[in-house]
């Protein structure tokens, strides 16, 4: 038995490197993955983020071995596993739907992977209980899946995936079936456990807030390929395309003019994140928090204002008829019909073709 397999679950050594190189997957005439390239460092937590149908789950399933790819390489610790069956890849996976075995108790579910590895019963039981404790469910180890809530079931599923000490942990939208509060709790718990164990993790989600909150890096997918990968801050502050700017966070799309390496938005000159090939009319992507209420700014009329707890988001109609969103202090209580002046903060912006 290897050192990793003998180590207690709470002191697992760091995970494996994962590389997807030009991975292609076709489904009867439809190309779901058009050449996915992704590299994950040992112990890193990467989120695959994208809209429905962008191929993120297909990419995860290809890495798991649940989908045969039509081209490209999938390397785990430098070894190509494209032709390795799923049960030999040494991965742990948590599914979107509660995938616990209904005829087994929580502990039996967790023991399943160890049973498949022919671990002796006493050791199996010890490790199952240890892992259930890790996810805070040791008191419910004798319950069947139908006696557990959705959040508890996903915790058991997480324990089941972790107990074999896999080289890679794959999470396929594990929180999407849970209610909002449980989702945030379990999200933070997954991150805590992943950090403690140092296991390489790929997390699929369509929820940008979830991805930004838990991941070391986020890969935004679009039409079967990775559009941009970076830290949450990089994606938010320096998106490389209009798609990423729109998908990650909110962006106002404001008509602007590029000239001489700068962009002019409603009379204000700003630096560019990206440089278009030609000068001329463009669309500038401006975050709501990059617009401030200022007596020296341009005139606008309040359309709606929403209280979001720590801040307020207000929709304004500018004099030229365009509608923008601004984020501001909750103390600024604006009513529909109020006239307010706003200006851009002056941060560099992304521009795209108009």
């Amino acid at each position: 038995m290897t050192l990793i397999a003998d180590a207690p679950i709470t002191t697992m050594s760091s995970g494996a490197t994962v590389e997807l190189i030009d991975v292609v997957k076709d489904y009867s005439g439809h190309r779901a993955l058009t050449g996915v390239n992704l590299s994950i460092k040992p112990g890193e937590f990467v989120a695959l983020l994208g809209p429905s149908g962008c191929g993120k789950t297909t990419a995860l399933r290809a890495l798991a071995g649940l989908e045969q790819v039509n081209g490209g390489s999938i390397l785990i610790d430098g070894r190509d596993v494209v032709n390795v069956p799923v049960n030999k890849r040494d991965i742990g996976m948590v599914f979107q739907s509660y995938s616990l075995f209904p005829h087994m108790t929580a502990r039996e579910n967790v023991e399943f992977g160890l049973r498949m590895r022919k671990v002796d019963p006493a050791e199996r039981r010890r490790r199952a209980e240890e892992t259930l404790e890790l996810v805070g469910l040791s008191a419910l180890s004798g319950r069947y899946s139908h006696q557990l809530s959705g959040g508890q079931q996903q915790r058991v599923a997480l324990a089941r995936a972790l107990v074999t000490r896999p080289r890679v942990l794959l999470l396929d939208e594990p929180l999407s079936a849970l209610d909002a509060k449980v989702r945030v709790q379990l999200r933070d718990e997954i991150r805590r456990i992943q950090t403690d164990l140092g296991i390489t993790t790929l997390f699929v989600t369509h929820d940008q807030e979830e991805a930004l909150a838990v991941a070391d890096r986020v890969a935004v997918m679009r039409d079967g390929h990775v559009e941009q990968i970076g830290t949450p801050e990089e994606l938010y502050t320096a998106p490389i395309s209009a798609f990423v700017a729109n998908f990650v966070g909110l962006s106002n799309q404001i008509p602007a003019e590029v000239s001489g390496g700068v962009v002019t938005v409603h009379g204000q000159t700003l630096d560019l994140i990206n440089r278009p090939h030609l000068d001329g009319p463009v669309i500038a992507f401006v975050r709501p928090e990059d617009i401030v209420i200022d007596a020296q700014g341009m005139t606008s009329t309040v359309l709606t204002s929403s209280f979001l707890g720590s801040l307020r988001r207000t929709q304004l109609r500018l004099d030229d008829g365009s509608v923008i969103s601004v984020q501001h202090d909750v103390a600024d209580q604006l009513q529909p019909g109020d006239t307010v002046r706003v200006r851009l903060k002056g941060r560099p912006v992304l521009v795209g073709p108009r």
Partner: protein, 274 residues
């Protein structure tokens, strides 16, 4: 105050009335059959005497040759039951699981094929089976157990439905993917995950198959095989009492099988709702 309930389940009284009516419909012929088997001799002065003479006669060595055809028929029917259940378990069940896991687009086709026998009258099926059985007889001989091939086709709709219902209630694809990701080979997936979760459907399917096989007459008769049902028909010409005794036994047996199927279903529901 009694509340009007629309679209709700029937009240206690209604349920008992329905249960009672259905019970009477079932019980009257069974009680009449029992009464008939207990009759001893002809009524004397309008008074019928009762006893167990016909039951005891079954075990008399003197009647051994008379009832031999019946006992042989029972043995043949039980053999056919075993082989037919084996056909369901070895052929139908793996096919259904395979279609569910790997070829879900073929689910409708499989359902259509399995339902077909119920839409074709037995007599029409027999016309098709006769030439087939001339070949079967050449390969396997004309032993009664060969009837299991034909009965295996007849029971398809009844065997298919409970397994299909169970498959629909369990996401075998996700369960098999989860177990595969945990290191299980296909045999472990089947034996440790899928089959335990289909146990209810499999049992129901087997019990219904047994009930259908024990009640099958047309094909056995036309293919000239001695089974329980054909033996009963034969025997009733010479000893109607014994024929009715066994008919009652068969009915009670089928009744218990159905009770068992219902019990399997309710056991599952109880566990789920706890």
């Amino acid at each position: 105050m009694s509340a009007l309930r629309f679209g709700a389940e029937p009240g206690r009284v209604t349920r008992w009335v329905i249960l009672g009516s259905v019970g009477i419909v079932f019980m009257v012929p069974i009680v009449a059959m029992l009464e008939f088997t207990l009759r001893v001799g002809q009524p004397a002065k309008g008074v019928q005497t009762y006893g167990f003479a016909h039951y005891l006669a079954l075990f008399s060595p003197l009647n051994e040759s008379t009832y031999d055809v019946l006992f042989q028929g029972i043995v043949n029917s039980l053999t056919i039951c075993v082989i037919t259940v084996a056909i369901v378990l070895v052929l139908l069940l793996p096919t259904m699981i395979l279609v569910e896991l790997k070829f879900p687009h073929l689910r409708r086709v499989l359902e259509f094929v399995c339902i077909i026998p119920i839409t074709i009258p037995s007599i029409v099926l027999v016309v098709g089976f006769v030439p087939v059985y001339s070949i079967v007889a050449r390969i396997f001989g004309s032993s009664p157990w060969t009837l299991a091939f034909a009965v295996g086709v007849i029971v398809l709709p009844y065997a298919y439905r409970p397994i299909a219902a169970n498959l629909a209630s369990v996401d075998v694809v996700i369960l098999s993917e989860a177990s595969r990701s945990l290191g299980a080979g296909w045999l472990s997936v089947l034996g440790r995950v899928i089959l335990p979760n289909l146990r209810r459907g499999i049992f129901a399917s087997c019990f219904i198959t047994i009930a259908v096989v024990l009640g099958e007459y047309t094909i056995a008769s036309f293919l000239s095989r001695n089974t329980f049902q054909t033996a009963l028909v034969l025997l009733q010409h010479t000893d109607p009492y014994v024929a009715v005794i066994f008919a009652v036994v068969a009915l009670v047996f089928a009744f218990f099988l159905l009770l068992l199927i219902g019990r399997l279903g309710s056991t599952r529901r109880d566990r789920t709702s706890s």
